[in-house]
């Protein structure tokens, strides 16, 4: 059992891993452009020609942007470092697997939060105000943590092939977008659709965004329920990621 000074030490080391990730994986033009353009194009493809209010569109775009950016890079770090043999370096260092994963997650969270400013600024340009800024800030941070942890689950596949991991994560991510009330409000979904939406973490951040941009009443679930759901998903993803990586790490080396 680690004591408080040891936990603080491990957190400092997690920040070192996060800084390394940012320098190596995130501060790349194509990564940033992908983070912004990918959800924007998908969004435009489904929204052009439909008569929907701008605040509805921006809320959906924000949810999708956090989702795509926070899950974009974390899945490829472990396979890449398996291939480059850097993972062995980390495994030999005095850091736990949880510390390595927290480091990877922190970098992803920062990336997700920064890129999420793009749809918010876009909304401001179109005259969309934020009705509940504090809730929006909490929602963005929480969702970034949740989706980054989800990315870590994808990265636990014991392979050095990034394409394998990317294919698997895309197969899961894209259906979730259609199930989560981004394009069709949850209240308009059939009951089976609503049931499916309830098991997607994207549903809850999108619903929170609707509340924050469109005001009270635009949300389907209550704000505390949305926040509680994101926290539960975060815990589930993080625990699963740690357990899966503990199993897969020896098989990567």
């Amino acid at each position: 059992m680690l004591m408080v000074p040891e936990i603080m030490d491990q957190m400092r080391r997690a920040f070192a891993i996060a800084r390394k990730d940012i320098q190596i994986y995130y501060l790349k033009g194509p990564v940033i452009i992908f983070g912004i353009l990918s959800p924007s194009f998908l969004f435009l493809a489904f929204m052009i020609g439909r008569n929907l209010p701008v605040d509805f569109l921006i809320a959906g775009l924000l949810g999708m942007t956090i989702f795509f950016t926070s899950t974009s890079v974390t899945p490829v770090i472990a396979p890449t470092e398996t291939q480059t043999r850097n993972l062995e370096r980390l495994a030999a260092a005095p850091v736990s697997i949880t510390t390595i994963l927290i480091g990877d997650m922190l970098a992803s969270v920062l990336f997700g939060i920064l890129i999420s400013l793009v749809p918010i600024l876009l909304g401001v340009m179109f005259g969309v105000g934020v009705a509940h800024p504090l809730v929006l800030a909490v929602a963005i941070v929480l969702a970034a943590f949740c989706f980054s942890a989800m990315g870590l689950v994808f990265s636990s596949t014991p392979t050095s092939m990034t394409s394998t991991v990317m294919m698997m994560s895309t197969m899961i991510k894209f259906p979730l977008v259609f199930l989560s009330g981004v394009f069709i409000p949850i209240q308009d979904l059939p009951s089976w659709g609503q049931a499916l939406a309830s098991i997607s973490p994207l549903t809850y951040i999108t619903d929170l965004c609707r509340y924050c941009f469109q005001g009270t009443g635009a949300n389907y679930y209550s704000v505390p329920l949305n926040i509680f759901a994101l926290v539960v998903f975060l815990i589930i993803f993080m625990v699963a990621a740690v357990k899966l990586h503990e199993r897969s790490l020896p098989r990567r080396l």
Partner: protein, 321 residues
């Protein structure tokens, strides 16, 4: 003397395969311990277990008194590790790689800067410190990886094939650094394929074969104990049939390599006399003749060859007992 590395009953199974089979070894403080073995013998698996990279199926490891399984963070903090393949982050500069290591090992920032400067100078990399390591040659990368492993000034250093495939200058620099570190009291666990390197540097060597320790002893003890490996290196003016040489009294084996023929014998003096008689009677001219003592390579081949193996266990402790 205090044991810095203690392994007891260390075993690793991969399904049905027993990669490492109940290894026991102790490395004392300030020792350079060589770990030798053919490919696939279980060297890297053993080193990975000793460094906490993978968990053993069975057995215990203590590093500087810390139980590696129960207290992995503290145990890892006292060791530096140089894995088999260079693994600096190629997208980072040499300086940033060193600083990352310092942060991972909890070295205070001020100490880290001074230490990085010192190591970059020692390893001849200072003028390239702000270059990404993807632009480095293999020798430079390996020197950097060793520098990275020294950022925390570890008490124990594990090196897996540190000079493999390097140019002479880089290999010599690394060997000099290892000797310097050892002179400062550091304990070094060196895995190598180079017998001469092990012979020169190591206080004791262990030879692993088929996942089991075949011998642990100082190099000279090993050579003396294995015995039967004295040989004559002879070069003839014209080719001589090795089957004729086998019939010379005292010769136990004959091997040819290039223009040299090696006659293995337990009695070199007597065999020289018989060889000279044989050459005189046959009108064969000897160009050169040398008496060779057994080398560590001979011991290695004897212990890891098909006829050798773990049954011929030879063990001598660090104190020579």
């Amino acid at each position: 003397m205090k044991n810095m590395i203690e392994a007891e009953g260390l075993t690793k199974n991969y399904g049905e395969l027993v990669a490492v089979d109940h290894i026991d070894l102790n490395v004392v403080c300030g020792e350079i311990f060589g770990f030798l073995g053919p490919n696939g013998a279980g060297k890297t698996t053993t080193v990975r277990m000793l460094t906490g990279i993978i968990k053993p199926t069975k057995g215990r490891v203590h590093i500087a008194g810390f139980d590696l399984l129960r207290d992995p963070i503290k145990a890892k903090e006292v060791m530096g590790v140089v894995p088999e393949l260079s693994n600096a982050y190629t997208e980072l500069t040499a300086w940033k790689n060193l600083q990352l290591m310092a942060e991972l090992y909890g070295v205070p920032a001020k100490d880290a800067k001074a230490r990085a400067e010192e190591l970059l100078v020692r390893f001849g990399l200072h003028d390239r410190k702000d270059h990404k390591t993807k632009t480095f040659s293999k020798g430079m990368k390996q020197r950097l990886v060793i520098a990275m492993s020294l950022m925390s000034d570890p008490e124990i250093l594990f090196l897996d094939e540190p000079t493999s495939g390097l140019d002479v200058m880089s290999a010599r620099m690394i060997k000099d650094v290892l000797q310097e570190l050892n002179n400062r009291g550091k304990t070094i666990f060196l895995t190598t394929h180079y017998m001469e390197e092990a012979n020169q540097l190591c206080n004791r060597v262990a030879i692993i074969n088929h996942g089991r320790i075949a011998a642990i002893a100082p190099p000279e003890e090993l050579k003396a104990r294995i015995g039967g490996l004295g040989r004559l290196e002879v070069s003839f003016r014209a080719h001589v049939d090795s089957s004729d040489l086998r019939r010379i009294s005292g010769v136990t084996d004959v091997r040819e390599s290039g223009d040299k023929t090696y006659l293995y014998t337990d009695e070199p003096g007597m065999t020289i006399q018989h060889l000279v008689d044989y050459c005189q009677s046959g009108g064969i001219e000897i160009v050169t003749l040398h008496t060779l003592t057994p080398t560590l390579e001979d011991v290695f081949i004897k212990l890891t060859g098909d006829e050798g193996g773990v049954e011929e266990m030879v063990e001598v402790d660090a104190d020579g007992s």
